[in-house]
Symmetry: C2
Subunit: 422 residues, 2 copies
């Protein structure tokens, strides 16, 4: 099995560095994207289709990052893209919005169990930030309880004091608790009566650099009751999990009902839209807030979203993704075992997290992943991975062959130091 080389990727990256700070920024870039060692990774794609993307050197990858989530049906899904193309001919970003926005809002309300209404924006962060504003408007309070390690976007309130560009005031209304620790939440609520506007969390714990954790039995039901009893808005950030656990919403999957649900990645298979869904009790609060953006009512992503959600429902996508994720991860665990390694897999299998255990330096895991990437199975380190509906049994089988080969390489040599183009 030949390993890939990345000459054109490196050339393009050097070109990018001149006009783009860090070359590629954010979660798609080598710095924040957990592309370690960077020498093992492609930086720029040329094209994509189904479960694959091809980089600028022509290397093909089975893509288990799915653009960090948006690719749920498979790249360039023909039904979604045909709907987008058809809408583009009629109109996209227009002074009076297309009535297709109503069609998608009705479909969201019909699909998401807790939703009485939907509000569309562009980024996950648009709707997590808006959820806090809605909670503040509805309650007249300003404090929020967040779970340490959860990611809710990049707005200053989501970041940490001491991070570049963040002022103390940006995070001064946040309380932080540990995941699955109900008592901490309850104590904060007791110690600050009438002050907590919102409890916001992902439906389960999927941070970076840590095993993912499902909610403990009864956790969400107790949180729900605590919020209801104390007039606190319960907001779920379903940006990453949304439609990968349950088409009716991840609160539904875990047996409770949120007041607000934030969706983004899987709505429109990569076409640019996010959504806040909510209950009737919060309709007036939403309506009271000035919140908008230049492209927020553009019609093309709405057309794509309608086609995507309908297809996800037809396929029963969450079940398919969980089943195939389980097949893949069980195979990876077995493959590791055959070579004397232990691979720990956590989270829901449609968006699992994995790490080689007995590897405190993390370098063994990183080297194994690097050997997989260089052979065409695209994983990143220390971040959950994603399944899409286009991944076939053959792709899974090929991935297991790659994993096997990568373990062989690992056994043949001692760990090396991290190399990097940065």
């Amino acid at each position: 099995m030949n390993t890939y080389s990345y000459e054109k990727n490196q050339e393009q990256f050097m070109r990018a560095l001149k006009v783009i700070p860090t070359g590629i920024y954010g979660h798609l870039g080598p710095v924040e994207g957990c592309f370690i060692p960077t020498s093992a990774y492609p930086f720029f794609s040329q094209r994509a289709n189904g479960a694959y993307f091809w980089d600028v050197d022509g290397n093909r990858f089975i893509d288990y990052m799915c653009a960090y989530g948006p690719n749920i049906l498979g790249y360039n899904d023909e039904d979604v893209d045909a709907a987008a193309a058809e809408q583009a001919k009629a109109g996209n970003c227009t002074t009076a919005p297309s009535s297709i926005v109503i069609d998608l809002a009705e479909l969201m309300v019909d699909t998401v169990a807790m939703a009485d209404w939907t509000f569309f924006a562009k980024n996950g962060g648009d709707v997590t930030s808006f959820a806090l504003m809605v909670a503040k408007a509805a309650t007249g309070r300003k404090k929020t309880i967040l779970v340490k390690g959860n990611y809710h976007g990049v707005a200053p309130w989501t970041q940490k004091l001491g991070y570049p560009g963040i002022a103390a005031e940006d995070v001064s209304n946040n309380f932080y608790v540990d995941w699955n620790n109900y008592d901490q939440v309850e104590n904060i609520v007791k110690e600050h009566p009438g002050e907590i506007a919102c409890f916001m969390s992902t439906p389960y714990y999927h941070p970076v650099f840590a095993d993912n954790e499902l909610p403990a039995p009864g956790y969400w039901q107790k949180i729900r009751k605590l919020c209801t009893d104390n007039g606190i808005v319960l907001a779920i950030d379903d940006v990453r999990c949304g439609f990968r656990l349950d088409m009716a919403g991840s609160d539904h999957y875990f047996g409770f009902k949120a007041d607000l649900m934030c969706f983004c990645k899987a709505i429109a298979n990569g076409w640019n839209v996010s959504a806040l869904c909510g209950t009737d009790a919060l309709r007036d609060a939403v309506s009271s807030i000035m919140y908008t953006g230049s492209y927020w009512l553009s019609a093309v992503p709405f057309a794509a979203g309608i086609a995507c959600i309908k297809k996800l429902k037809e396929l029963n996508a969450p079940q398919m993704l969980i089943k195939n994720g389980r097949k893949l991860t069980e195979g990876l665990v077995d493959t590791a075992k055959n070579h004397g390694y232990k691979l720990t897999v956590t989270g829901v299998p449609s968006m699992w997290y994995m790490r080689l255990t007995e590897d405190d330096s993390l370098m063994l895991h990183q080297e194994w992943v690097a050997e997989c990437v260089k052979r065409g199975a695209f994983f990143t380190n220390h971040h959950n991975l994603f399944m899409c509906c286009a991944i076939t049994d053959e792709d899974i089988s090929h991935t297991l062959d790659i994993a096997d080969e990568a373990f062989k390489v690992l056994r043949k040599r001692p760990p090396t130091t991290i190399n990097s183009v940065i």
Copy 2:
């Protein structure tokens, strides 16, 4: 000249109200969109082309709002949309971004005089918020000076204390000055030595509900010197003006050089992208900040942006828009005069502001605008209007006929009360 009726618009709006708070939210909606009286306005479009959109009742409008700015070449521009469609076939939102992001970054750096680098996001508000974070990271300070009445998006720091969902901490690092008042800026800088990270403003004053105002002679040059002398980052919000005044940037148009420039609306003719441009001195600060979003490196809007900017340069779009805007507004002023009214026009003609004077209640202006809209010339009230390159002399002539007819109606009747579907 028949007036339009809006039965299907009203029906769709009633349908929307069930699943979308306020039916249509934000600046495209009847509540915040200055669609007064709402009975005169269409709510939903069916299709758009060139300078026109058609509503769900089939009424055609010459569109002088241009989707609040993004429509600069004309709706569904064939060059832009062909580039977008071609890129969509290759790939859009992928795990490794397309190298087309570099092409657009190079084009931005080549086009915008002050730009050494470009950072892309999705909303204008993404890049105005990021500009503040960059300024804070670069200076280690946290205070910002803003101009009262300027619009920089919807993030909490852009809003006012007392608005729903806004906490005191959200705006506690803001100082506010009057437009064109250099002394106020200087005083704040003197009173808070070493505390001001950023002065942010639009390049000229284009608030709602007020005549627009150009910078006084020497204003920007004095502000530039004050910022340089005191280590303050000068950030220009060119979201609305960008590429409607000068392809090299609105700071260039007014003869100064900003440190950061925020672009959005006119970059890609409605395809979803925004950009922060900056100087080399701020490259490290940008690189230090975690700032990203799910779709920020999607390729389709980049392809559209390249096609759009190239075409804008070929057309010398800002000059064309200013010339045609002048032709239209001079015609409107004359038409008003013929009927004994005075129409005051302010701002740069490519995005002018207008109001009927001697009308303290604003209702005369609103009634005249309503009569124009009902005959197919789409204006809004109390907000600047926009020219696009697809507007022809014939469109302008037809608009003047509509304006004339609307003034005739105004003269025949006393002002009525505002009616509304809300």
